[in-house]
Amino acid sequence: MKRRVCWGLLLAGVLCALPAAGHVALEQYLQQRVSAVVSPKNIDLTIEFMFTSAASLAERLSMDKDQNGKLSKDERRAYHEAIAQEAEAAVTMMIDGAECAVIPLYDPELDLLGSRDLEEHPHTVRLFFFTRTPATFKKGSTILVDNALWADVPVMVAVSVKGTGGIRAVASQTQGLKPPSASMRTLRVLDATCTERKEPNSKLGG
């Protein structure tokens, strides 16, 4: 528990390092790219956070604990771990109104895009999750994903949804760029609808 609190504080530090909501430049916006792959067995979700140069510097400052201007393996690991711990609670998924277990599929990836220095240089964080596709999932089913990571930072969201195995799904058009808001604690990052589900044995049905 003590460890979790520590990481919670670290993440709070990370968030504080980012600009205050309500007065930010575009360069400090966080881009989120959300992609979902819906199959009959699983729904895989990848959330990619792309920190532009200025926003990345704020994050890099929070990583550089020894303030030597270099992001060591330990510092990167600490950042990584903080995100991993928070992510599981921060990302929630509802399918047809019922909450689903959002399970990490892989560990998060931190891509510093070639620079491990404390500088204005973009970086990317990718989170991977999945949930089991409910047996009740059918044409018309909706998938909603909310994310509370960096929720106080204004964000631009791009969404893509793919269906496989006889499922076709499309993202709704209510997504997009999210304005900054002091009260914003979570963001709806995915709103998708199943538009077609072919049951493998439907032709055999009576």
């Binding site: 277990a101 893509s160 760029l177 538009t195």
Partner: protein, 718 residues
């Protein structure tokens, strides 16, 4: 990319702490090992086993979650039982893995595996060792080494005493051909065991790719994905363009373009300007080639063999040629520096790869500075290659918390005076004086409080277009609100690269007729002869009028409405076509048939008291299209949504009140959030506030007059 593996795996292991100091869970370390195998090294297993590997990873992760959340002994016990079963499945496939090498270190006895070289599939790969030090319960360890970071190839592996350890060692950036290294098995209380290993990576093969234009049959630029199936990593084609230096360190400037193409096409693509050869590790590669929205993407799998060249020629089929219908594609929002011929060549290759005929290349500014410098503006600085044009424009003024972002096309000079920065009309007027077009960005989402300045300047007819499609997201709220208030607004679309993915991933089509020039294209946008799309195509007429046209009627006569949305069964087909009047659908055609490539409506509608009418379509891949409206004007009446007009006007007045509030805050030394702020942004807003408020008052007067007009129309409407 590959360093990510190291980062993830090292992170996972280091988090795990000392191996033998953990709890008594079954097969400790198994989740990390299962993940690494499933994500990167499934090649170690027979194809039939790979699906099971993925299933084990998911089950492992799921049970980890259940274990963490278990609050009762029963739940914990149930989770433990499940975990044991999954661990047994993992152990079984590890035992059956042909790549496993066994090491036995018990007492004074050390048995090393035969010393034959270990073949890796390319410059990355993995070793799987089964190290037995005793009869205790088995455990797993996962490590990653980037050999480019090691001058001494001694790779330590910490092994627990008295048990079996499954050790997965991932290697990255392995030199070609033969490499000697030593695996150092450190076992507590025992001497280190060194295992000399020789890796062999195969000779590379060559992939030679040519993409042809479907129009000419000659080599042409294209967007391309190239993925090594062995580990799922992107590979950069040999001549892929690096746009990074032209992006001023802004947005997503590094690596492949992360596109927002709809549906299954979304992904990471490189822009390749022409034929290329590239040497690759042998194995299977997945290739996707696209040439923009009017072509069908090509999907292929190629097998590269050592010391051989595999040649492929692709000719993405053009499923529609909108030029033949008189419509030419454009992207109103492309950021990139053009300071040299090479910069221009790079961008020209990109728009040709995406088959976008006109790109508005915008220099960007804010109240402090500018980005994406250009050599100049105006016709002399257009870059033209056949019917593809790069035309310099600007995204400026651009305020994030006050009035929104503006964009201009076809300007003769950059227009920027920071002492009038909040007086957007001064820029719009100058843009028009120069013969250009002015518009608002990002209205699809309404970000940056763009509704505020829209409420000031759209009523004054100072704006030509708005971006209502971006990042695969069509946002119609503001578009419909202003149309419903009786203002003509032209639909536009822009990718906003480098924040967006690729040029033309959303596009505006403008009707130039059969002859295309940049000037004709700009003129078409000025006339409102546009539609926007990120996939399916759409056509729309009312009588003989096209989008942007006005039909004036003197009586309530019938109007013939025709619309068609169409696609291609190999790419996307329309699933829905709506005719929209005053924001609401009045006619819909729908289809779930993936072989039906067109939806059409043809019907009569009474002109009534007038309206704006548009067509909107959805594709079965999630793509969207929308036309600019046709304006049906009944003489003496506005085309607005009369029954909701008072609420609509009130909305605009609320937006104006927001401007008054932020000016008042600025005068008091506070920013838009009411926080004390002495930045230039706030200081200038305070200084320019009086002039801005004059414009607000003028807008208010327009809205007051509109109320009076609504009152007058009450008697005229039937």
């Amino acid at each position: 990319m590959k360093s990510l593996i190291a980062c993830c795996c090292a992170f996972a292991i280091l988090c795990a702490g000392p191996l033998w100091a953990q709890d008594t869970e079954t097969l400790p370390g198994a989740p990390d090992l299962a993940t690494a195998l499933a994500k990167y090294h499934s090649y170690l297993f027979a194809p039939a086993v790979r699906e099971e590997l993925d299933a084990i990873n998911r089950d492992m992760r799921e049970i980890q979650r259940e274990t963490r959340r278990a609050t009762t002994d029963e739940a914990r016990e149930a989770a433990r039982t499940k975990r044991e079963a999954i661990a047994a499945r993992l152990s079984a496939i590890l035992e059956s893995c042909p790549a496993t090498r066994a090491i036995e270190v018990t007492g004074q006895q050390t048995t090393l595996p035969p010393m034959e070289p270990i073949s890796l599939p390319g410059d990355s790969g993995a070793f799987l060792f089964k190290v037995r030090t005793g009869d205790g319960p088995a455990r797993c360890v996962t490590l990653t080494y980037d050999l480019s970071q090691h001058s001494n190839f001694r790779l330590p592996v910490e092994v627990a005493p008295g048990c079996t350890t499954w050790a997965l060692i991932s290697l990255e950036r392995v030199p070609q051909l033969k490499t000697e290294m030593e695996i150092e098995f450190a076992i507590a209380g025992q001497p280190t065991t060194l295992l000399p290993v020789r890796t062999i990576t195969p000779d590379h093969g060559t992939l030679s790719v040519t993409v042809l234009s479907d129009d000419t049959g000659k080599p042409a630029p294209a967007m391309m994905q190239l993925v090594w199936k062995t580990d799922g990593h992107d590979v950069r084609p040999g001549n892929a363009i690096n746009f990074g230096p032209q992006f001023d360190s802004q947005g997503n400037w590094d690596g492949p373009r992360k596109t927002n193409y709809p549906g299954k096409l979304a992904g990471r693509y490189w822009c390749v300007p022409g034929p290329f050869n590239t040497t690759l590790a042998p194995g299977e590669y997945e290739i996707v080639v696209t040439r923009g929205g009017e072509h069908v993407a090509v999907h292929d799998t190629v097998t590269v063999v050592s010391n051989e060249t595999v040649e492929r020629t692709y000719r993405p089929r053009r499923w529609v040629d909108m030029r033949k219908h008189g419509w030419y594609s454009g992207d109103d929002h492309v950021h990139a520096q053009i300071l040299s011929d090479q910069d221009a060549e790079n961008l020209m290759a990109w728009i040709q790869a995406e088959d976008v005929h006109l790109a508005n290349i915008v220099k960007m500014g804010d109240i402090y500075r500018t980005w994406f410098e250009q050599r100049g503006f105006g016709k002399d600085y257009r870059v033209v290659d056949k019917d593809y044009v790069l035309s310099p424009g600007q995204e400026c003024p651009r305020t994030h918390n006050e009035l929104g972002h503006t964009i201009s096309m076809n300007i003769q000079n950059m227009i920027r005076n920071t002492e009038q920065y909040y007086l957007y009309d001064t820029v719009f007027d100058e843009v028009h004086r120069q013969g250009g077009l002015s518009g608002y960005c990002h209205t699809n989402s309404g970000i940056f409080y763009v509704h505020r300045d829209m409420s000031v300047n759209i009523p004054k007819d100072k704006v030509d277009f708005i971006e209502m499609l971006q990042f695969a997201n069509m946002g119609t709220d503001l578009f419909y609100d202003f149309l419903n208030t009786g203002f003509k607004v032209t639909a536009s679309a822009g990718s906003d690269v480098p924040w967006g993915g690729s040029v033309g991933e959303v596009r505006i089509y403008a009707y130039t007729g059969k002859k295309f020039t940049a000037d004709r294209w700009f003129d078409a946008v000025k006339q409102g002869h546009t539609f926007v799309t990120n996939g399916i195509m759409i056509e729309f007429t009312v009588d003989d009028a096209m989008p942007g046209d006005e039909i004036v009627v003197t009586e309530d006569r019938p109007l013939r409405v025709h619309a068609r949305a169409w696609g291609d069964a190999e790419r996307e087909v329309p699933s829905k076509l709506d005719i929209i009047i005053h924001g609401a659908s009045v006619k819909t055609a729908e289809s779930a048939d993936t072989n039906r490539d067109a939806l059409e409506v043809d019907f009569e509608i009474p002109a009534g008291n007038g309206f704006w009418i548009a067509a909107r379509a959805e594709g079965n891949d999630g793509s969207r299209a929308h036309t600019t409206p046709i304006y049906v004007v009944r003489e003496g009446l506005r085309f607005w949504k009369y029954e909701g007009i008072r609420d609509l006007i009130a909305k605009r007045e609320t937006s104006l009140a927001e401007i008054e509030k932020i000016v008042a805050e600025a005068v008091a030394g506070r920013n838009a959030m009411g926080q004390e702020d002495s930045t230039r942004t706030v200081q200038q807003l305070a200084l320019q506030g009086p002039e801005l408020l004059k414009r607000v008052e003028e807008a208010k007067a327009i809205y007051t007059e509109l109320r009076a007009t609504a009152d007058r129309e009450a008697a005229l409407r039937k």
